[in-house]
Symmetry: C2
Subunit: 210 residues, 2 copies
Amino acid sequence: MSIQKPEAADEADEAGASPRPLRADARRNRDKLTAAAAKAFARSGVDASLEAIAREAGVGTGTLYRHFPTREALIEAVYRREVEGLVAAADDLLRQETPDAALAEWMQRYVDYIATKRGMRDSLKLLLESNSPLFAETHGLVPRTFRRLMEQAVQSGTIRPDADSADVLHALSSIYSATDGPDWHERSRRLVALIMDGLRYGAPRPSQRR
Amino acid sequence: MSIQKPEAADEADEAGASPRPLRADARRNRDKLTAAAAKAFARSGVDASLEAIAREAGVGTGTLYRHFPTREALIEAVYRREVEGLVAAADDLLRQETPDAALAEWMQRYVDYIATKRGMRDSLKLLLESNSPLFAETHGLVPRTFRRLMEQAVQSGTIRPDADSADVLHALSSIYSATDGPDWHERSRRLVALIMDGLRYGAPRPSQRR
DNA sequence: GGATTAACCGGAGGGGCCTCCGGTTATTGC
DNA sequence: GCAATAACCGGAGGCCCCTCCGGTTAATCC
Protein backbone atom coordinates (compact mmCIF):
# COMPACT_ATOMS: atom_id res chain seq x y z
CA MET A 1 0.00 0.00 0.00
CA SER A 2 2.52 2.55 1.10
CA ILE A 3 5.12 3.71 -1.34
CA GLN A 4 8.52 2.86 0.03
CA LYS A 5 11.31 5.33 -0.32
CA PRO A 6 13.74 4.17 -2.98
CA GLU A 7 16.76 2.33 -1.69
CA ALA A 8 20.32 3.31 -2.49
CA ALA A 9 20.55 1.14 -5.58
CA ASP A 10 17.75 3.08 -7.24
CA GLU A 11 19.28 6.47 -6.96
CA ALA A 12 22.56 5.18 -8.29
CA ASP A 13 21.22 4.07 -11.64
CA GLU A 14 18.78 6.95 -11.70
CA ALA A 15 21.57 9.44 -12.18
CA GLY A 16 23.72 7.18 -14.32
CA ALA A 17 27.38 7.52 -13.32
CA SER A 18 27.17 10.71 -11.29
CA PRO A 19 30.42 11.76 -9.60
CA ARG A 20 28.85 12.06 -6.15
CA PRO A 21 25.72 10.43 -4.77
CA LEU A 22 24.41 13.67 -3.20
CA ARG A 23 24.92 14.40 0.44
CA ALA A 24 22.36 13.02 2.87
CA ASP A 25 20.89 16.36 3.92
CA ALA A 26 20.76 17.56 0.35
CA ARG A 27 18.92 14.45 -0.68
CA ARG A 28 16.49 14.95 2.18
CA ASN A 29 15.77 18.54 1.26
CA ARG A 30 15.37 17.64 -2.36
CA ASP A 31 12.70 15.10 -1.45
CA LYS A 32 10.93 17.51 0.84
CA LEU A 33 10.89 20.06 -1.96
CA THR A 34 9.42 17.78 -4.59
CA ALA A 35 6.79 16.59 -2.12
CA ALA A 36 5.78 20.12 -1.23
CA ALA A 37 5.82 21.13 -4.88
CA ALA A 38 3.60 18.23 -5.86
CA LYS A 39 1.05 19.35 -3.31
CA ALA A 40 1.27 23.00 -4.29
CA PHE A 41 1.01 22.30 -8.01
CA ALA A 42 -2.01 20.09 -7.46
CA ARG A 43 -3.62 22.74 -5.30
CA SER A 44 -2.93 25.92 -7.25
CA GLY A 45 -1.47 24.91 -10.58
CA VAL A 46 2.06 25.29 -11.84
CA ASP A 47 2.10 29.00 -11.11
CA ALA A 48 2.19 28.31 -7.40
CA SER A 49 4.58 30.53 -5.52
CA LEU A 50 8.03 29.03 -5.27
CA GLU A 51 8.59 30.83 -2.01
CA ALA A 52 5.50 29.19 -0.57
CA ILE A 53 6.76 25.81 -1.70
CA ALA A 54 10.10 26.38 -0.02
CA ARG A 55 8.32 27.51 3.12
CA GLU A 56 6.09 24.46 3.16
CA ALA A 57 9.10 22.23 2.66
CA GLY A 58 10.79 23.95 5.58
CA VAL A 59 13.81 25.15 3.62
CA GLY A 60 15.05 28.50 2.37
CA THR A 61 14.45 29.72 -1.14
CA GLY A 62 18.15 29.45 -1.82
CA THR A 63 17.96 25.71 -1.34
CA LEU A 64 15.07 25.46 -3.72
CA TYR A 65 16.88 27.38 -6.41
CA ARG A 66 20.06 25.40 -5.97
CA HIS A 67 18.26 22.15 -6.58
CA PHE A 68 15.92 23.47 -9.26
CA PRO A 69 17.31 26.48 -11.07
CA THR A 70 14.08 27.07 -12.93
CA ARG A 71 10.44 26.43 -12.36
CA GLU A 72 10.50 23.97 -15.23
CA ALA A 73 13.19 21.91 -13.55
CA LEU A 74 10.97 21.58 -10.50
CA ILE A 75 7.95 20.65 -12.56
CA GLU A 76 9.95 18.02 -14.33
CA ALA A 77 11.17 16.55 -11.05
CA VAL A 78 7.66 16.40 -9.69
CA TYR A 79 6.41 14.72 -12.81
CA ARG A 80 9.14 12.14 -12.69
CA ARG A 81 8.48 11.51 -9.03
CA GLU A 82 4.83 10.85 -9.68
CA VAL A 83 5.52 8.48 -12.51
CA GLU A 84 8.01 6.57 -10.43
CA GLY A 85 5.56 6.44 -7.58
CA LEU A 86 2.94 5.03 -9.86
CA VAL A 87 5.26 2.34 -11.12
CA ALA A 88 6.42 1.43 -7.64
CA ALA A 89 2.85 1.27 -6.41
CA ALA A 90 2.13 -1.49 -8.91
CA ASP A 91 4.73 -3.74 -7.33
CA ASP A 92 3.49 -2.97 -3.84
CA LEU A 93 -0.07 -3.73 -4.77
CA LEU A 94 0.77 -6.97 -6.49
CA ARG A 95 2.62 -8.03 -3.41
CA GLN A 96 -0.21 -7.25 -1.04
CA GLU A 97 -3.44 -7.86 -2.91
CA THR A 98 -4.97 -10.30 -5.31
CA PRO A 99 -4.18 -9.45 -8.92
CA ASP A 100 -7.60 -8.10 -9.74
CA ALA A 101 -7.83 -6.02 -6.58
CA ALA A 102 -4.39 -4.65 -7.34
CA LEU A 103 -5.49 -3.79 -10.84
CA ALA A 104 -8.62 -2.03 -9.63
CA GLU A 105 -6.76 -0.02 -7.05
CA TRP A 106 -4.03 0.96 -9.46
CA MET A 107 -6.52 2.13 -12.04
CA GLN A 108 -8.02 4.50 -9.53
CA ARG A 109 -4.59 5.81 -8.67
CA TYR A 110 -3.85 6.35 -12.28
CA VAL A 111 -6.96 8.45 -12.73
CA ASP A 112 -6.10 10.50 -9.67
CA TYR A 113 -2.66 11.04 -11.07
CA ILE A 114 -3.99 12.21 -14.41
CA ALA A 115 -6.47 14.52 -12.76
CA THR A 116 -3.78 16.03 -10.60
CA LYS A 117 -1.81 16.82 -13.70
CA ARG A 118 -4.47 18.83 -15.42
CA GLY A 119 -2.92 22.07 -14.16
CA MET A 120 0.47 21.12 -15.50
CA ARG A 121 -0.78 20.36 -18.98
CA ASP A 122 0.79 23.22 -20.89
CA SER A 123 3.98 23.30 -18.92
CA LEU A 124 4.51 19.66 -19.66
CA LYS A 125 3.90 20.36 -23.30
CA LEU A 126 6.57 23.05 -23.21
CA LEU A 127 8.91 20.59 -21.59
CA LEU A 128 8.13 18.03 -24.21
CA GLU A 129 9.13 20.41 -26.98
CA SER A 130 12.34 21.27 -25.20
CA ASN A 131 15.43 19.13 -24.98
CA SER A 132 14.49 17.20 -21.89
CA PRO A 133 15.15 13.45 -22.00
CA LEU A 134 12.35 13.08 -19.50
CA PHE A 135 9.80 11.67 -21.86
CA ALA A 136 12.05 9.22 -23.56
CA GLU A 137 12.63 7.72 -20.13
CA THR A 138 9.14 7.73 -18.76
CA HIS A 139 6.92 7.56 -21.77
CA GLY A 140 6.69 3.84 -22.14
CA LEU A 141 6.87 3.11 -18.46
CA VAL A 142 3.29 3.61 -17.45
CA PRO A 143 1.74 1.60 -20.29
CA ARG A 144 4.20 -1.19 -19.62
CA THR A 145 3.34 -1.22 -15.95
CA PHE A 146 -0.33 -1.30 -16.70
CA ARG A 147 0.10 -4.18 -19.12
CA ARG A 148 1.95 -6.10 -16.47
CA LEU A 149 -0.89 -5.62 -14.02
CA MET A 150 -3.45 -6.75 -16.53
CA GLU A 151 -1.47 -9.81 -17.48
CA GLN A 152 -1.22 -10.89 -13.87
CA ALA A 153 -4.95 -10.56 -13.47
CA VAL A 154 -5.57 -12.50 -16.66
CA GLN A 155 -3.34 -15.30 -15.48
CA SER A 156 -5.17 -15.51 -12.20
CA GLY A 157 -8.35 -15.91 -14.23
CA THR A 158 -10.23 -13.05 -12.63
CA ILE A 159 -10.55 -10.88 -15.72
CA ARG A 160 -11.28 -11.74 -19.29
CA PRO A 161 -8.25 -12.39 -21.46
CA ASP A 162 -9.40 -10.55 -24.58
CA ALA A 163 -9.07 -6.92 -23.55
CA ASP A 164 -6.29 -4.75 -24.94
CA SER A 165 -4.38 -2.94 -22.23
CA ALA A 166 -3.78 0.10 -24.41
CA ASP A 167 -7.51 0.45 -24.96
CA VAL A 168 -8.25 0.29 -21.28
CA LEU A 169 -5.56 2.79 -20.44
CA HIS A 170 -7.00 5.11 -23.02
CA ALA A 171 -10.42 4.75 -21.46
CA LEU A 172 -8.99 5.60 -18.07
CA SER A 173 -7.28 8.67 -19.46
CA SER A 174 -10.50 9.90 -20.95
CA ILE A 175 -12.13 9.83 -17.55
CA TYR A 176 -9.96 12.81 -16.83
CA SER A 177 -11.97 14.96 -19.18
CA ALA A 178 -15.09 14.25 -17.15
CA THR A 179 -13.58 15.59 -13.93
CA ASP A 180 -15.14 18.98 -13.53
CA GLY A 181 -17.84 19.09 -10.90
CA PRO A 182 -17.29 19.15 -7.16
CA ASP A 183 -17.97 15.41 -6.95
CA TRP A 184 -15.57 14.40 -9.67
CA HIS A 185 -13.71 12.06 -7.39
CA GLU A 186 -16.79 10.03 -6.57
CA ARG A 187 -17.74 9.99 -10.19
CA SER A 188 -14.31 8.85 -11.25
CA ARG A 189 -14.49 6.00 -8.75
CA ARG A 190 -17.73 4.85 -10.26
CA LEU A 191 -16.36 5.05 -13.77
CA VAL A 192 -13.29 3.10 -12.82
CA ALA A 193 -15.48 0.46 -11.14
CA LEU A 194 -17.55 0.28 -14.28
CA ILE A 195 -14.54 -0.40 -16.42
CA MET A 196 -13.28 -2.94 -13.93
CA ASP A 197 -16.61 -4.76 -14.03
CA GLY A 198 -16.34 -4.84 -17.78
CA LEU A 199 -13.01 -6.55 -17.43
CA ARG A 200 -14.39 -9.06 -14.96
CA TYR A 201 -17.32 -9.92 -17.16
CA GLY A 202 -17.00 -13.45 -18.47
CA ALA A 203 -13.78 -14.16 -16.67
CA PRO A 204 -13.05 -17.89 -16.33
CA ARG A 205 -12.73 -17.76 -12.54
CA PRO A 206 -14.75 -14.91 -11.02
CA SER A 207 -13.33 -13.51 -7.82
CA GLN A 208 -15.33 -14.04 -4.62
CA ARG A 209 -15.96 -10.45 -3.64
CA ARG A 210 -18.75 -8.74 -5.49
CA MET B 1 11.26 66.21 -41.16
CA SER B 2 9.74 66.30 -37.73
CA ILE B 3 6.77 64.12 -37.02
CA GLN B 4 3.89 66.30 -36.00
CA LYS B 5 1.64 65.22 -33.22
CA PRO B 6 -1.66 64.05 -34.60
CA GLU B 7 -4.43 66.61 -34.50
CA ALA B 8 -7.83 66.04 -32.95
CA ALA B 9 -9.38 64.60 -36.07
CA ASP B 10 -6.89 61.76 -36.08
CA GLU B 11 -7.57 60.52 -32.62
CA ALA B 12 -11.28 60.60 -33.25
CA ASP B 13 -11.26 58.07 -36.04
CA GLU B 14 -8.43 56.21 -34.40
CA ALA B 15 -10.69 55.04 -31.62
CA GLY B 16 -13.80 54.80 -33.72
CA ALA B 17 -16.79 56.23 -31.85
CA SER B 18 -15.34 56.36 -28.36
CA PRO B 19 -17.64 57.91 -25.76
CA ARG B 20 -15.04 60.37 -24.53
CA PRO B 21 -12.00 61.78 -26.29
CA LEU B 22 -9.65 61.26 -23.31
CA ARG B 23 -8.82 64.05 -20.94
CA ALA B 24 -5.93 66.29 -21.83
CA ASP B 25 -3.61 65.21 -19.03
CA ALA B 26 -4.41 61.57 -19.65
CA ARG B 27 -3.59 61.98 -23.30
CA ARG B 28 -0.32 63.65 -22.38
CA ASN B 29 0.71 60.88 -20.02
CA ARG B 30 -0.26 58.25 -22.52
CA ASP B 31 2.05 59.80 -25.09
CA LYS B 32 4.88 60.15 -22.62
CA LEU B 33 4.49 56.50 -21.74
CA THR B 34 4.57 55.17 -25.28
CA ALA B 35 7.59 57.35 -26.03
CA ALA B 36 9.44 56.10 -22.98
CA ALA B 37 8.43 52.53 -23.72
CA ALA B 38 9.65 52.78 -27.31
CA LYS B 39 13.06 53.87 -26.05
CA ALA B 40 13.18 51.21 -23.34
CA PHE B 41 12.11 48.40 -25.66
CA ALA B 42 14.68 49.41 -28.22
CA ARG B 43 17.36 49.55 -25.53
CA SER B 44 16.67 46.42 -23.52
CA GLY B 45 14.06 44.43 -25.40
CA VAL B 46 10.44 43.87 -24.50
CA ASP B 47 11.35 42.59 -21.06
CA ALA B 48 12.32 46.06 -19.98
CA SER B 49 11.11 46.95 -16.52
CA LEU B 50 7.71 48.58 -16.58
CA GLU B 51 8.59 50.50 -13.44
CA ALA B 52 11.61 51.96 -15.18
CA ILE B 53 9.44 52.99 -18.10
CA ALA B 54 6.98 54.75 -15.83
CA ARG B 55 9.87 56.45 -14.05
CA GLU B 56 11.39 57.62 -17.29
CA ALA B 57 8.02 58.91 -18.44
CA GLY B 58 7.71 60.80 -15.18
CA VAL B 59 4.49 59.14 -14.08
CA GLY B 60 3.55 56.60 -11.43
CA THR B 61 3.22 52.93 -12.13
CA GLY B 62 -0.49 53.18 -11.49
CA THR B 63 -0.86 55.46 -14.47
CA LEU B 64 1.02 53.05 -16.64
CA TYR B 65 -1.18 50.15 -15.64
CA ARG B 66 -4.35 52.13 -16.09
CA HIS B 67 -3.47 52.95 -19.67
CA PHE B 68 -1.93 49.60 -20.49
CA PRO B 69 -3.27 46.79 -18.31
CA THR B 70 -0.76 44.31 -19.68
CA ARG B 71 2.69 44.43 -21.11
CA GLU B 72 1.27 43.31 -24.43
CA ALA B 73 -1.06 46.28 -24.56
CA LEU B 74 1.92 48.57 -24.19
CA ILE B 75 3.90 46.75 -26.84
CA GLU B 76 0.98 46.96 -29.19
CA ALA B 77 0.63 50.70 -28.61
CA VAL B 78 4.31 51.25 -29.25
CA TYR B 79 4.16 49.23 -32.42
CA ARG B 80 1.17 51.15 -33.67
CA ARG B 81 2.84 54.43 -32.83
CA GLU B 82 5.90 53.52 -34.84
CA VAL B 83 3.91 52.44 -37.84
CA GLU B 84 1.90 55.63 -37.76
CA GLY B 85 5.05 57.65 -37.43
CA LEU B 86 6.51 55.94 -40.44
CA VAL B 87 3.46 56.65 -42.53
CA ALA B 88 3.29 60.27 -41.42
CA ALA B 89 6.99 60.71 -42.16
CA ALA B 90 6.35 59.87 -45.80
CA ASP B 91 4.02 62.83 -46.21
CA ASP B 92 6.40 65.14 -44.42
CA LEU B 93 9.29 64.06 -46.57
CA LEU B 94 7.36 64.39 -49.81
CA ARG B 95 6.41 67.89 -48.80
CA GLN B 96 9.93 68.96 -47.99
CA GLU B 97 12.25 67.09 -50.34
CA THR B 98 12.47 66.01 -53.92
CA PRO B 99 10.75 62.69 -54.50
CA ASP B 100 13.94 60.66 -54.80
CA ALA B 101 15.53 62.25 -51.75
CA ALA B 102 12.35 61.57 -49.84
CA LEU B 103 12.42 57.99 -50.98
CA ALA B 104 16.04 57.53 -49.95
CA GLU B 105 15.49 59.04 -46.54
CA TRP B 106 12.36 57.03 -45.90
CA MET B 107 14.07 53.80 -46.82
CA GLN B 108 16.69 54.45 -44.20
CA ARG B 109 14.03 55.15 -41.62
CA TYR B 110 12.30 51.96 -42.51
CA VAL B 111 15.45 49.95 -41.91
CA ASP B 112 15.98 51.68 -38.58
CA TYR B 113 12.44 50.85 -37.65
CA ILE B 114 12.84 47.20 -38.51
CA ALA B 115 16.10 46.99 -36.61
CA THR B 116 14.50 48.52 -33.55
CA LYS B 117 11.87 45.87 -33.64
CA ARG B 118 14.21 42.94 -33.50
CA GLY B 119 13.74 42.63 -29.75
CA MET B 120 9.99 42.61 -30.09
CA ARG B 121 9.91 39.83 -32.62
CA ASP B 122 8.37 37.07 -30.55
CA SER B 123 6.03 39.29 -28.62
CA LEU B 124 4.64 40.62 -31.83
CA LYS B 125 4.18 37.10 -33.03
CA LEU B 126 2.21 36.29 -29.91
CA LEU B 127 0.10 39.34 -30.53
CA LEU B 128 -0.48 38.26 -34.06
CA GLU B 129 -1.85 34.95 -32.93
CA SER B 130 -4.12 36.61 -30.42
CA ASN B 131 -7.31 38.44 -31.17
CA SER B 132 -5.82 41.86 -31.72
CA PRO B 133 -7.15 43.78 -34.73
CA LEU B 134 -3.82 45.54 -34.84
CA PHE B 135 -2.46 43.78 -37.85
CA ALA B 136 -5.55 44.01 -39.94
CA GLU B 137 -5.29 47.76 -39.56
CA THR B 138 -1.60 48.24 -40.05
CA HIS B 139 -0.49 45.40 -42.17
CA GLY B 140 -1.07 46.86 -45.58
CA LEU B 141 -0.21 50.39 -44.56
CA VAL B 142 3.54 50.31 -44.81
CA PRO B 143 3.72 48.63 -48.22
CA ARG B 144 1.13 51.04 -49.53
CA THR B 145 3.07 53.99 -48.24
CA PHE B 146 6.24 52.72 -49.79
CA ARG B 147 4.55 52.21 -53.13
CA ARG B 148 3.31 55.75 -53.04
CA LEU B 149 6.80 57.05 -52.44
CA MET B 150 8.18 55.04 -55.32
CA GLU B 151 5.46 56.14 -57.69
CA GLN B 152 6.17 59.75 -56.92
CA ALA B 153 9.83 59.23 -57.65
CA VAL B 154 9.04 57.40 -60.87
CA GLN B 155 6.81 60.22 -62.02
CA SER B 156 9.51 62.76 -61.37
CA GLY B 157 11.75 60.67 -63.57
CA THR B 158 14.53 60.23 -61.04
CA ILE B 159 14.26 56.46 -60.64
CA ARG B 160 13.64 53.71 -63.14
CA PRO B 161 10.04 52.78 -63.68
CA ASP B 162 10.48 49.01 -63.88
CA ALA B 163 11.17 48.13 -60.25
CA ASP B 164 8.57 46.37 -58.14
CA SER B 165 7.97 48.11 -54.83
CA ALA B 166 7.29 44.86 -53.02
CA ASP B 167 10.65 43.53 -54.12
CA VAL B 168 12.47 46.60 -52.91
CA LEU B 169 10.69 46.54 -49.59
CA HIS B 170 11.65 42.93 -49.18
CA ALA B 171 15.26 43.79 -49.90
CA LEU B 172 15.15 46.50 -47.26
CA SER B 173 13.69 44.12 -44.74
CA SER B 174 16.43 41.63 -45.34
CA ILE B 175 19.03 44.22 -44.44
CA TYR B 176 17.75 43.74 -40.95
CA SER B 177 19.29 40.32 -40.74
CA ALA B 178 22.72 41.81 -41.46
CA THR B 179 22.56 44.13 -38.45
CA ASP B 180 24.77 42.52 -35.91
CA GLY B 181 28.13 44.20 -35.51
CA PRO B 182 28.74 47.43 -33.65
CA ASP B 183 28.78 49.36 -36.92
CA TRP B 184 25.53 47.98 -38.21
CA HIS B 185 24.04 51.43 -38.64
CA GLU B 186 26.81 52.58 -40.94
CA ARG B 187 26.57 49.38 -42.86
CA SER B 188 22.83 49.67 -43.22
CA ARG B 189 23.24 53.20 -44.60
CA ARG B 190 25.60 51.90 -47.25
CA LEU B 191 23.27 49.06 -48.16
CA VAL B 192 20.32 51.41 -48.46
CA ALA B 193 22.39 53.74 -50.61
CA LEU B 194 23.32 50.81 -52.79
CA ILE B 195 19.71 49.87 -53.36
CA MET B 196 18.86 53.48 -54.03
CA ASP B 197 21.58 53.71 -56.65
CA GLY B 198 20.14 50.63 -58.25
CA LEU B 199 16.81 52.39 -58.50
CA ARG B 200 18.41 55.51 -59.99
CA TYR B 201 20.30 53.51 -62.58
CA GLY B 202 18.94 54.21 -66.03
CA ALA B 203 16.40 56.73 -64.82
CA PRO B 204 15.14 59.03 -67.59
CA ARG B 205 16.06 62.23 -65.73
CA PRO B 206 18.95 61.67 -63.28
CA SER B 207 18.87 63.91 -60.25
CA GLN B 208 21.63 66.53 -59.92
CA ARG B 209 23.17 65.50 -56.62
CA ARG B 210 25.50 62.56 -56.62
C1' DG C 1 -16.41 83.06 -13.21
C1' DG C 2 -17.55 79.60 -9.79
C1' DA C 3 -19.17 74.96 -8.19
C1' DT C 4 -19.59 70.14 -9.11
C1' DT C 5 -17.94 65.93 -10.36
C1' DA C 6 -16.22 62.32 -13.13
C1' DA C 7 -11.86 61.13 -14.48
C1' DC C 8 -7.29 60.85 -13.53
C1' DC C 9 -2.92 60.68 -10.81
C1' DG C 10 0.75 58.72 -7.90
C1' DG C 11 2.89 55.82 -4.88
C1' DA C 12 2.58 52.84 -0.92
C1' DG C 13 2.17 48.11 -0.06
C1' DG C 14 1.97 43.16 -0.45
C1' DG C 15 3.76 39.56 -2.88
C1' DG C 16 7.00 37.14 -5.92
C1' DC C 17 11.59 36.08 -8.27
C1' DC C 18 16.30 35.19 -7.97
C1' DT C 19 21.24 35.95 -6.32
C1' DC C 20 24.77 36.03 -3.20
C1' DC C 21 27.56 34.90 0.66
C1' DG C 22 28.69 34.01 5.64
C1' DG C 23 27.75 30.22 8.57
C1' DT C 24 26.98 25.16 9.20
C1' DT C 25 27.50 20.19 8.51
C1' DA C 26 28.19 15.64 6.38
C1' DT C 27 31.94 13.24 4.51
C1' DT C 28 36.63 11.77 3.89
C1' DG C 29 41.30 10.63 5.11
C1' DC C 30 44.12 9.71 8.69
C1' DG D 1 37.82 9.28 16.94
C1' DC D 2 39.21 13.78 14.98
C1' DA D 3 40.54 17.41 11.77
C1' DA D 4 40.09 19.35 7.35
C1' DT D 5 37.15 20.70 3.83
C1' DA D 6 33.94 20.41 0.16
C1' DA D 7 29.23 20.75 -0.10
C1' DC D 8 25.26 22.54 1.51
C1' DC D 9 22.01 25.71 3.97
C1' DG D 10 19.18 29.85 4.75
C1' DG D 11 17.54 34.25 4.39
C1' DA D 12 18.57 39.07 3.59
C1' DG D 13 18.42 42.14 -0.14
C1' DG D 14 17.55 44.08 -4.64
C1' DC D 15 14.46 44.28 -8.22
C1' DC D 16 10.04 43.69 -10.21
C1' DC D 17 4.85 43.16 -10.80
C1' DC D 18 0.33 44.73 -9.99
C1' DT D 19 -3.58 46.61 -7.05
C1' DC D 20 -5.86 49.83 -4.46
C1' DC D 21 -7.41 54.19 -2.85
C1' DG D 22 -7.12 59.04 -1.01
C1' DG D 23 -5.95 63.28 -3.14
C1' DT D 24 -6.00 66.23 -7.35
C1' DT D 25 -7.65 68.33 -11.57
C1' DA D 26 -9.70 69.09 -16.16
C1' DA D 27 -14.10 69.43 -18.03
C1' DT D 28 -18.94 70.76 -17.59
C1' DC D 29 -22.97 73.22 -16.23
C1' DC D 30 -25.00 77.01 -14.39
